[in-house]
């Protein structure tokens, strides 16, 4: 780099630029200069080339686009001297990525460097491959890199790079390493004495083992050996000792690799590994030096994971817990956080439960830590360690904490408290107490599910009802209570208020007045509940209390005209019902018991956990499918579902198990509830998701549970039969008829696709454009559109792309040419695939006869000669049409105009008649004048006489039939009517034209009149 004056001048120029604009000008100037130099026929000297390529790199680093000169950069790789080669490698790895074609040119040169003798070049090449090597590199270079790695003649420096380079190649293309041959070599590599090479090799091993642990089982004892070697601090050179810890990186990697093996069978290996782990556990302590702490803790926590993974003896586990207990009492927040987090992980190993309990008070103290992440971990841990024995304490603690917790945590906190209270309630009245307290303390953060659940419990347990009612009554005495509290107490008092009737202050009218006090303060969704409660109170008031009745009726009356439909309906219905005596009693009888089912709260907690900050454990589990978490047997803690959800159970696997034809589906949560019964009952209060919304949760790793029914709904159907099970939006026939009269609009729509159409018509040519819009978020594949043209139309549809990307629209033009008049309709056979769903539709294309008409307004002088020239059938046809939908004359005129048959006003002296004209275009007939006359009967609008004439018999007939169809059928109506109504038509035509009919010809009469 030294001595390149041009480069340093350029850089100092750039640095001297006053502003961005000046810099850009300078860069553009330089780029122009470089382009000129690269383009020159004269061969550049290596020095110049090197200089310009450095400049390019500098410009690239400044953020400007450098999209040329890659060729020069790549060619520098093959330069013989180090400075040129170096810049070639550096610039190539900065400017290119693995998908660039240019890299293919470089492969051979890079290979030459790798197999060459020059160590420096080998290192440069390996670095490049490690940085950007893609699939191509993996295929052609992997064997050479492997050779370098295992060769004994190379220096450790090269072998280190080779190991990392191989790791990269393996990640890009797992086939790069042949499992059979390589396992032995890997084992040999782990015998390496040089710690640097060993560390790189272990990185490679971790990747290999995560992919296929069986093949590399021979490496297991070697890893243990490495750990032993490090733990005993044998043969560790000074430079690999970090704050007295022998190569912590290697230790962590070796232990990480060990976690990928399911278990260790060999007892002696196991024993020696446990010795090492024991040593690590014992030997780690919190010290002053941050770096030492970090290193030793990294090793320690990896060891803890390994201990958990290996399912060690109880003694060792409790030793771990004891160690963690020490950690959570330390002042340093990072260490405390790690301690809490790891304790939560330990919880999954069931038998440490009791040991952890010893630290309960310490954990509760952590709940008051100033650091929110620590508080969260403590909350998680408390939630996880809770069981019947300590539930009371913990829930109380949580309730106390609730009033001081910050807002972001309160919802989660209240939800967790509610769940714990439900799961471990020693008696139900305690549960009700807790929940009411909860609502009282953190009403804003109590989701509806919580109070729904309380209501379910109370309804299902008769003994609880009076207690709950009296508790609710107590809370109502408070001056300011939360709205949720109003809801609960209103509901409970409405149902069970009568059970308290004998207590003082609890008569129906008293209850009413105390509840009614709250009415002005509540929001709309609560009012319906209150109204129901009033009605129930009224019903329970025995004997009838006219005073109360009057008051309640007044309330109902007041809400009869409420703007909210739900309130209005309830008010009106209750009012009417309350006058009905016996029926009133029936309708408002006590609520039936709810079916037992999984708590919606627990379901919700799972979702919350999923969306809430993902704990490190879960992240780890997602990044690498370590068996550590999956294998550990998640025995339900005290018979409740595990607090921490097991990852890796994806909905797909659930679906697969269900779709097996028999049996298996029955063991999957038979309760599978409809979203929420209670919320159904509560009508508008149903904030819980509707079925449609629930299905969006399918992707959440919800395990089994409430979503099973949705999953099985789609999974149980065999793939092949899933055609046309999408719901079409709108009526296809209606859309077609609308498009017959318009030139653009929607032809077809379902939840995934929308087909719009836009048409232009000129003479007998037409140009339609189909707009295929993918509405879904995944691509539609196998899209096919075929046109089935009728004989009279020539249609050319340009090919439709096979795939429509998500949220994209493709256009597909369709050329239409009309050969002769006909009313037949072209059909578009359209199909596509979305995932496994195949959807097909046959759609009529709105290229109907009237599209080839051109409006034409004729004057009297033009009209009559033409009209007279058409002598009679088959050029001029007349028919009396019955069953016409009644239309006023102007409306009919509009209808005619809408299909481009122009009404010529004032031509016919009779105001009840319409005279119309138009031009028809087709290939055979050319432009053809068409005339029509409609005579209506003002007395009976359902019948009319129609005369249509043109220079072509087929055209006359087709046009007449078309107009008839339009007049009989509501254009928006169902198409099914058409054949029925059109049926008499051929008969009418079949009649031989009689002279009488000729005499009746209104045209002739008209002409006579004039």
């Amino acid at each position: 780099m030294t001595g390149m004056r041009g480069l340093s001048v350029f850089i100092s120029d750039i640095r001297n630029c006053q502003n961005k604009e000046a810099e850009r000008l300078r860069v553009d100037k330089e780029l122009g200069n470089i382009r000129t130099c690269f383009k020159n026929e004269k061969v550049l000297t290596p020095y110049k080339k090197k200089k310009y390529v450095w400049k390019m790199l500098y410009i690239h680093m400044l953020g400007y686009d450098v999209d040329f000169g890659h060729m020069e950069a790549v060619s520098l790789i093959s330069a013989p001297k180090y400075p040129e080669k170096q810049v070639g490698y550096i610039v190539t790895s900065c400017l290119l990525n693995e998908n660039h074609d240019f890299l293919k040119l470089a492969i051979n040169t890079v290979r030459n460097d790798i197999i060459g003798r020059n160590e420096t070049f080998q290192c440069l090449a390996l670095t490049l491959v490690g940085n950007i090597g893609g699939r191509d590199f993996a295929e052609s270079l992997a064997p050479d890199v492997q050779k370098l790695l295992i060769s004994s003649s190379c220096r450790p420096l090269v072998r280190k790079k080779a190991a990392l380079c191989l790791l990269r190649l393996f990640r890009k293309n797992p086939d790069a390493i042949n499992v059979d041959g390589w396992a032995d070599r890997m084992t040999q590599l782990l015998d390496e004495r040089d710690l640097g090479v060993l560390t790189s090799s272990t990185s490679l091993l971790v990747a290999l083992v995560s992919n296929n642990h069986e093949a590399y089982s021979s490496c297991l004892p070697k890893c243990v050996k490495i750990l032993e070697r490090l733990a005993r601090n044998q043969d560790v050179p000074q430079e690999y000792t970090y704050y007295g810890i022998p190569s912590p990186w290697l230790q962590v990697k070796a232990m990480r690799a060990l976690q990928y093996f399911p278990t260790i069978e060999d007892p002696s290996t196991r024993k020696s590994l446990f010795e090492v782990l024991q040593r690590i556990l014992m030997g780690t302590d919190v010290v002053k030096n941050v770096n030492k702490n970090n290193a030793s803790h990294a090793v320690l926590f990896e060891a803890l994971s390994l201990v958990i993974h290996l399912d060690a003896e109880k003694e060792m586990m409790s030793q771990c817990v004891a160690l963690l207990g020490k950690f959570i009492s330390v002042r340093e927040p990072n260490i405390r956080y790690l301690g809490l987090e790891n304790m939560t992980r330990m919880l999954m190993v069931t038998d440490v439960q009791d040991v952890i309990k010893k630290h309960q008070s310490q954990i509760i103290t952590s709940l008051k830590d100033p650091d929110i992440s620590i508080r969260r971990r403590a909350l998680d841990l408390l939630y996880g360690m809770c069981d019947v024995s300590n539930a009371k304490d913990i829930v109380e603690e949580l309730l106390q904490y609730l009033s001081t917790a910050e807002f972001s945590m309160r919802e989660e906190l209240s939800l967790k408290a509610a769940i714990l209270a439900e799961k471990f309630a020693p008696d139900l009245s305690w549960y009700v107490d807790v929940i009411l307290q909860l609502i009282d303390k953190a009403g804003d953060f109590v989701s509806d599910d919580i109070w729904f659940r309380v209501v379910q419990f109370v309804t299902n347990n008769e003994d609880l009802q009076p207690y709950a009612a009296s508790k609710a009554r107590e809370y109502l005495d408070k001056i300011a209570i939360h709205e949720t509290m109003v809801k609960v107490s209103a509901y409970i008092l409405g149902e069970y208020g009568h059970l308290l009737a004998r207590q003082p202050g609890c008569s129906a009218s008293e209850l009413f007045s105390i509840l009614h006090e709250k009415l002005p303060t509540v929001s709309t969704p609560t009012i319906p509940i209150l109204l129901s409660t009033y009605a129930k109170l009224l019903m329970h008031a025995q004997p009838r209390d006219p005073e109360l009745e009057k008051k309640v009726w007044a309330v109902f009356k007041k809400y009869e005209s409420c703007i909210d439909v739900e309130i209005q309906q309830r008010a009106v219905e209750y009012f009417e019902l309350s006058k009905k005596g016996a029926a009133f009693m029936d309708v408002l009888a006590e609520m039936p018991k709810f079916p037992e089912r999984q708590s919606s709260l627990i379901k919700k907690a799972e979702i919350v956990e999923d969306t809430a900050d993902q704990s490190a454990i879960k992240l780890r589990a997602q990044q690498q499918p370590s068996n550590a978490l999956v294998v550990a047997n998640p025995q339900p803690v005290s018979g409740a579902p595990p607090p921490l959800k097991i990852p890796s159970q994806e909905p797909q696997s659930v679906a697969r198990s269900i779709s097996q034809p028999n049996g298996t589906s029955s063991n999957l949560d038979p309760q599978a509830p409809s979203p929420d019964l209670l919320s159904d009952l509560l009508g508008p209060l149903a904030i819980e998701a509707a079925p449609g919304a629930v299905s969006t949760d399918q992707h959440g790793p919800s395990g089994t549970g409430g979503h099973a029914d949705e999953v099985d709904g789609s999974a149980i159907v065999p793939v092949g039969e899933q055609t046309n099970n999408v719901e079409v939006i709108g009526n296809i026939a209606e859309r077609f008829h609308a498009l017959c009269l318009k030139d653009s609009g929607v032809l077809y729509e379902d939840p995934y696709i929308q087909i719009g159409i836009k048409a232009e018509w000129r003479g007998h040519h037409g140009r339609l454009v189909l707009f295929l819009g993918n509405k879904s978020t995944s691509p539609l594949t196998s899209v096919q559109a075929l046109i089935l043209p009728p004989a009279h139309l020539k249609l050319e549809l340009s090919p439709v792309p096979d795939t429509i990307p998500p949220r994209a629209q493709v256009q597909s033009p369709l050329e239409v040419m009309n050969i002769r008049p006909s009313r037949d309709v072209a059909v578009l056979d359209f199909s596509y695939k979305l995932g496994t769903i195949v959807v097909g539709a046959k759609l009529r294309i709105p290229a109907v006869i009237n599209k080839f008409l051109q409006p034409l307004q004729l004057t009297t002088e033009e009209f009559f000669p033409q009209w007279r020239a058409l002598s009679g059938p088959p050029l001029k046809l007349q028919e009396v049409v019955r069953g016409v939908r009644p239309l006023a004359l102007p409306e009919m005129a509009n209808l005619f105009n809408s299909f481009r048959v122009t009404i010529c006003p004032g031509l016919d002296p009779n105001p009840n008649n319409l005279v119309a004209s138009t031009t028809f275009y087709s290939d055979t007939t050319g432009a053809m004048l068409c005339l029509a006359r409609i005579e209506t009967d003002p007395a009976d609008r359902t019948q009319l006489r129609m005369t249509v004439g043109s220079g072509d018999p087929t055209l006359t007939f087709e046009l007449k039939e078309f107009i008839k169809e339009q007049l009989i059928v509501m254009p928006m109506g169902s198409r099914a009517l058409v054949p029925a109504a059109a049926a008499p038509a051929p008969a009418a035509v079949a009649q031989p034209p009689s002279p009488a009919a000729l005499a009746d010809d209104p045209g002739a009469m008209l002409a006579g009149l004039l």
Binding site: G32, R35, F38, D65, G69, F102
Partner: protein
Amino acid sequence: MPVAASAIYFLNLRGDVLINRTYRDDVGGNMVDAFRTHIMQTKELGNCPVRQIGGCSFVYMRISNVYIVIVVSSNANVACGFKFVVEAVALFKSYFGGAFDEDAIKNNFVLIYELLDEIMDFGYPQNLSPEILKLYITQEGVRSPFSSKPKDNKPVPNATLQVTGAVGWRREGLSYKKNEVFLDIVESVNLLMSSKGNVLRCDVTGKVLMKCFLSGMPDLKLGLNDKIGLEKESEMKSRPAKSGKTIELDDVTFHQCVNLTRFNSEKTVSFVPPDGEFELMKYRITEGVNLPFRVLPTIKELGRTRMEVNVKVKSVFGAKMFALGVVVKIPVPKQTAKTNFQVTTGRAKYNPSIDCLVWKIRKFPGQTESTLSAEIELISTMGEKKSWTRPPIQMEFQVPMFTASGLRVRFLKVWEKSGYNTVEWVRYITKAGSYEIRC
């Protein structure tokens, strides 16, 4: 009256505040930081002269190497703000002679503060006329060495009377040995032409500049060959209008000295001029524009790496006239690597920082033509092939004694009580505005 500014800042190109003045309390002192971070340091700077950040609007313009930023928080009159800035800059220039740039500001802090105090009051613009202000802000600016010497100070009559009087723009008792009037008509032609030679958009904006050195209180009357004036004249004199070209002027605006009542009734431009230099009127013309140059470009892309450019420029003004400083900028793709030119006149070179071939011709006589033909080699690129957008060819020029609109001064009459003789000088010049030809 609308508020024009709550504060005004003068920044250099790096965004340092050179000088500022706050007129109202409704904007914070740190607003200029918002301008610096949200506007100056983004690419927005050149795009939009008015930006809203938070509750404040920033109205800014760049004059040489200074950004002038007006900050307002209320619903201000933006046009008034811009006009204020333009006038203020003209005022500063007249105080410190010629240049207005960073150095000039640094040299004249005190004067600028004094002026800023005077020209705006609580956000409302005040008198910005240099002639008046010089009556009572008598401090001299530090002049740049190249500007002309100031004239010697004259005794100041009653300034208040002067400002509030009927002819606020002219002092009484001026006297010159030689009474002279200079009149310049400066036009700039804007053109957008399609590659086939169709005129897509064409207009001329012109102004009439005057420099008067007249004694006493003279009354001037200017006659142009514009349509309304001529018609009115022929009507008044009840004789048919003279044949010859008449020009239809759009959007005429006058200096405040022009007597508008007389213009409305008689359609004549009569005025008592301020002393020295001023802009008498501005106008615009959209029809009957005489284009001074025709450009015939042919640009062929031969494959991916070669291009051929052929540009012919024809001057269509009178053969006796000539254009000066003709520059034709022919855009080329960004990946241009090598260029080969052949020109009949002038010089051409490739300028990579604006991606143009720049062809300069110092003197271009009328009724002649010259051509440039160039072969361009492009370098192949890695990026996806973006087709070149073919920006329009741009042209710059000046043609003295030519008006694109055809406007001519028919007469300029001067009356004064003493009845002295005056010498009138008239000059015409046409410049290129945005003169673009698509290729």
